[in-house]
């Protein structure tokens, strides 16, 4: 685009980095929170504050529950447009039953995929799920939102915009731009190794912002690159649905070949058959894993073609000790319990793919690595945020002189996505503690109310940000930053306090009992409060010093 290659790379980094950086702040922040999504679920749903349990008896507990699971209104609505005619009141033919446990989740989630009669595409299924307490089989009330795994996590990979998967596409585009920003950033950064440890807070705002931007970007460069890359690999089938469109015939042929090779029938036989003891199958699977020297727990259990003569049960080992997700699948004939197939060791390509997806999806049991992941994610947030700050600092004097409001708008957007996002997150947790146990009739259910509080708080924070960044148009520091930092400091103390008041689980109790999911969440918020307070004070001091002469303008990418 420009005669000089480096100039083009810098232009791309600045402008696409700015535009998508706003989205990436959200992706990185909620990605960091998602490392501990199940722990946040425990904080949000006090009824589930007990220890993780092994997979309970399928025959005695899970099978009777599976038979009663039906899709709720939202799940029915998802397929309403895909049928000719009305949906039945009750779905009877279950394609599959699935259950999976993790070492971090006390509750167990059951999934059922039902055949949809009159569906336009015969592959269409309607999905239902239920969360139970595995100690008793009692279901979690439907209106409890799993704020971690059911909101923050989907926010991370799809911005919760499910309509035509638009949210997935926005996040995917942002991830591609993240890769671009990393490559162009390295190209722009002339002294990348020499300045690896450089941070000069005593120099101009622009210099110190750029130093932090470079430091947080380069120190965790492999992390940032691999997470953006593997995120795209995980959802590549959404962005490039080649094998369901252009190469669909090839895909279908492969499925038939595979069904013959593996002995796992692709279609139902059409004749009913009873189910043998799945508990016995689980024991056999565990015996075989132990015989291979990899004793383990069941991670994922699936029953395919439920109730049919062609039905089979697949049991996978939980991959807590390595990066790959579940593996070592063993498949049993559902009606007799005989072993149909033991999955062979994975191919090299399969192992590479499992490594890449597994390092992103994190089913492993390793607390240090999880916390290091959070550090990496927050470093990514710092990198993006300081990039935004640098953009504003560099241009605000120039824009003030020209009477242009570009820098002010970017600063307002930065307030929205940096501090505004934190305000919204904390408000949602506060609302979670303050809302009544079940909403009165006529009100949206509790989980929806929590979401409204999140989005409403974010909207308010962005309005406040727009209003209180006016001084940027005169090249001054926006008071919005300090004000929102103070709000965060307050909210991050109120939330743990409310946790104590409404559940009795104060820090002395949770730390004393070693119940780290809740203790960790409270401690994280309190630490955040201290940092927000320090930031607010620092901003106040900087504003007082601002009377001095303006700092010289720095070119990013020039020494």
């Amino acid at each position: 685009m420009f005669p000089q290659f480096r100039h083009t790379m810098a232009w791309l980094h600045t402008w696409f980095g700015l535009a998508l950086g706003l989205v990436l702040m959200v992706v990185f922040f909620f990605g960091s929170l998602s490392v501990f999504d199940r722990e946040i679920d425990r904080w949000a749903i006090p009824d589930t504050r007990y220890e993780p349990q092994p997979m309970p008896s399928f025959d005695r507990m899970l099978k009777p529950i599976f038979e009663t699971v039906q899709p709720n209104a939202a799940e029915r609505a998802a397929v309403a447009g895909l049928v000719d005619g009305p949906l039945p009141a009750r779905f009877d033919t279950a394609r599959s039953w699935g259950a999976y446990t993790t070492h971090r989740d006390p509750v167990l989630t059951l999934f059922v995929g039902y055949q949809v009669p009159n569906a336009k595409d015969h592959e269409t299924a309607v999905w239902a799920n239920r969360t139970i307490d595995p100690r008793s089989g009692v279901a979690l009330p439907d209106d409890r939102l799993k704020i971690g795994s059911g909101f923050f996590y989907p926010l991370h990979y799809s911005l919760t915009i499910e309509w035509k998967q638009v949210g997935y596409w926005i996040v995917g585009f942002a991830a591609l731009m993240m890769l671009m920003a990393l490559v162009t950033g390295v190209i722009m950064h002339r002294k990348i190794l020499r300045e690896l440890f450089t941070f000069r807070p005593n120099k101009s705002a622009q210099r110190s912002m750029l130093d932090v931007h470079n430091l947080t970007g380069v120190a965790a460069l492999p992390f940032h690159f691999f997470f953006a890359f593997t995120g795209l690999v995980i959802f590549a089938y959404v962005y490039f649905p080649v094998t369901h469109t252009q190469l669909a015939p090839l895909h279908d042929k492969h499925e038939q070949v595979e069904a013959k090779q593996t002995g796992l029938p692709h279609e139902r036989a059409g004749s009913a058959a009873p189910m043998a003891s799945v508990d016995a199958m689980v024991l056999e699977a565990q015996r075989r894993w132990a015989a291979k020297g990899m004793a383990g727990d069941v991670g994922y259990l699936n029953v395919q073609h439920v109730g049919d003569a062609n039905g089979y049960v697949s049991i996978y080992r939980a991959g807590t000790d390595r990066v790959q997700l579940a593996g070592e699948g063993i498949h049993f004939k559902a009606s007799t319990g005989t072993v149909l197939r033991e999955d062979p060791p994975p191919t090299l390509v399969a192992r590479i793919n499992e490594f890449l997806t597994g390092l992103h999806l994190q089913h492993f049991r390793h607390w240090l690595l999880r916390w290091l992941y959070v550090l990496g994610g927050l470093a990514g947030c710092a990198c993006i945020a300081t990039g935004l700050f640098f953009f504003v600092e560099k241009r605000k004097r120039q824009h003030a002189k020209q009477g242009v409001s570009g820098a002010r708008i970017v600063d307002a957007l930065a307030v929205t996505t940096v501090t505004g996002m934190l305000v919204a997150t904390l408000c949602m947790l506060v609302a979670n503690r303050l809302l009544p146990d079940s909403m009165p009739a006529g009100w949206p259910w509790r989980g929806d109310m929590e979401k409204y509080c999140f989005w409403g708080a974010w909207l308010l924070a962005s309005v406040h940000g727009l209003w209180r960044t006016a001084p940027v148009a005169q090249a001054r520091l926006a008071p919005a930053w300090r004000e929102q930092c103070l709000a965060i400091a307050a909210l991050a103390v109120i939330a743990p306090l409310l946790n104590w008041i409404t559940t009795g689980d104060h820090l002395a109790r949770t730390i004393g009992a070693g119940y780290w999911p809740v203790a960790g969440a409270d401690l994280f918020m309190l630490t955040g409060s201290v940092l927000a307070l320090l930031a607010a004070r620092k901003l106040q001091r900087r504003d007082a010093l601002r009377a001095a002469a303006p700092a010289p303008m720095l070119e990013a990418g020039h020494a």
């Binding site: 685009m1 671009m180 390509v349």
Partner: protein, 103 residues
């Protein structure tokens, strides 16, 4: 007369739009071609289907990154458009032909 490389004063909105479209959409077409051809070729050569698919995705994403950068870095707009869009179309056609043989 259009200039393909610019000074700041020539950075028109239409040029930026053209470059962005080329890099994003042209890059997408090229990547689709790489993934389709890669999947069909590797499966045809005996690799397991999902392995061929996943390896093509892994390579494809890196290809998309490169194509995006090339869309902006390349001096001649028309040439890189030809390579990305034309190349992508050719690769997709090749994949389709190969599929006819395999199915």
């Amino acid at each position: 007369m259009t200039s393909n490389t610019l000074t700041r004063s020539h950075l028109t909105r239409s040029h930026i739009v053209a470059r962005t479209a080329l890099a994003l959409l042209g890059g997408y077409v090229f990547t689709w071609g790489v993934i389709a051809a890669g999947t069909a070729l590797m499966y045809g050569a005996g690799m397991a289907f999902h392995d061929a698919e996943h390896l093509s995705y892994i390579i494809g994403i890196l290809v998309y990154l490169g194509a995006f950068l090339a869309g902006f870095a390349a001096h001649k707009l028309r040439r890189v458009a030809l390579v990305l869009v034309g190349g992508g179309a050719l690769l997709s056609a090749g994949a389709w032909l190969l599929q006819q043989q395999l199915v």
